[in-house]
């Protein structure tokens, strides 16, 4: 993991992974993380998103936020494809521990084991956690 960012013209493309571990509402992490991801798309880097722990709830279908008086930003995950961000990884153990499966999610993802996720993380140049 490194935090030196090289966006110079013709600079190398780095592998960025944004790790989402928190439930979508109650804290601002998920929404802020998503905004950073959308902005990062402008820099033509190799961007992926990982969803672990309560972070998997960010992708669950049918979110209704009227009761907590927050904007339901879950439809924005479906816009990621248009931003050419198509690598969404979800940890299988986190889904299973919460009684969820891939069918409960609102976007196409790649489900992988914790071990595979670890491998994926070790291949990154930059890992940013939210």
């Amino acid at each position: 993991m490194s935090d030196d960012m090289d966006f110079e013209e013709g600079g190398t493309v780095k592998k960025f992974m944004f790790v989402n571990r928190k439930a979508p509402y109650g804290t601002i992490y998920a929404l802020e993380g998503l905004e950073v991801v959308l902005i990062s798309a402008a820099f033509d880097q190799d961007v992926s998103l990982a969803f672990l722990d309560d972070g998997v709830f960010q992708l669950v279908k049918g979110q209704k936020t009227d009761g907590v008086e927050m904007k339901n930003f879950s439809p924005t995950y479906r816009a990621l494809e248009g931003y050419d961000i198509e690598k969404l990884y979800v940890e299988r153990e986190s889904l299973e521990a919460r009684g969820l499966s891939e069918d409960d999610l609102l976007v196409d993802v790649q489900v992988m084991s914790a071990a595979e996720m670890g491998d994926m993380m070790s291949q990154q140049d930059v890992v940013i956690s939210f």
């Binding site: 905004e35 959308l38 902005i39 798309a41 402008a42 904007k71 339901n72 930003f73 439809p75 924005t76 479906r78 816009a79 248009g82 931003y83």
Partner: protein, 110 residues
């Protein structure tokens, strides 16, 4: 800041974007366009309506690059390019068109 439309006061932020997105209607859009010195034509409305549909579906205002690509897909390559969009909205299709469409400033718009 505020805007006066048909006797109703509409609240805007320091850059002229609507504070309450639900305040938007075509009359408000026309007034916002006037403030931007944009003469609204059918071509302008096409982009504005596209932006509103995009926001409705995804809950964000798209980045210019994404908007350009999506417009090209929906309305054809002669419209899905920067020149066409900048001719319509000289101060940037992202910022200016989003403002007239009553959307927030695009995420990542500098």
């Amino acid at each position: 800041m505020a805007l006066e439309v048909n006797g109703t006061t509409i609240e805007t932020d320091e850059e002229g974007f609507l504070v309450n997105l639900s305040d938007w209607n075509p009359d408000v859009a026309a007034e916002l366009a006037k403030g931007e010195n944009v003469e609204m034509t059918d071509q302008h409305w096409e982009v504005i309506n596209f932006l509103r549909e995009y926001y409705d579906e995804y809950q964000i205002a798209p980045a210019v690059r994404v908007l350009t690509k999506a417009i090209g897909k929906k309305l054809g390559p002669d419209k899905g390019n920067s020149k066409y969009l900048y001719d319509l909205f000289p101060y940037g299709p992202g910022k200016q068109a989003c403002k007239i469409a009553g959307l927030p400033k695009p995420t990542g718009c500098i």
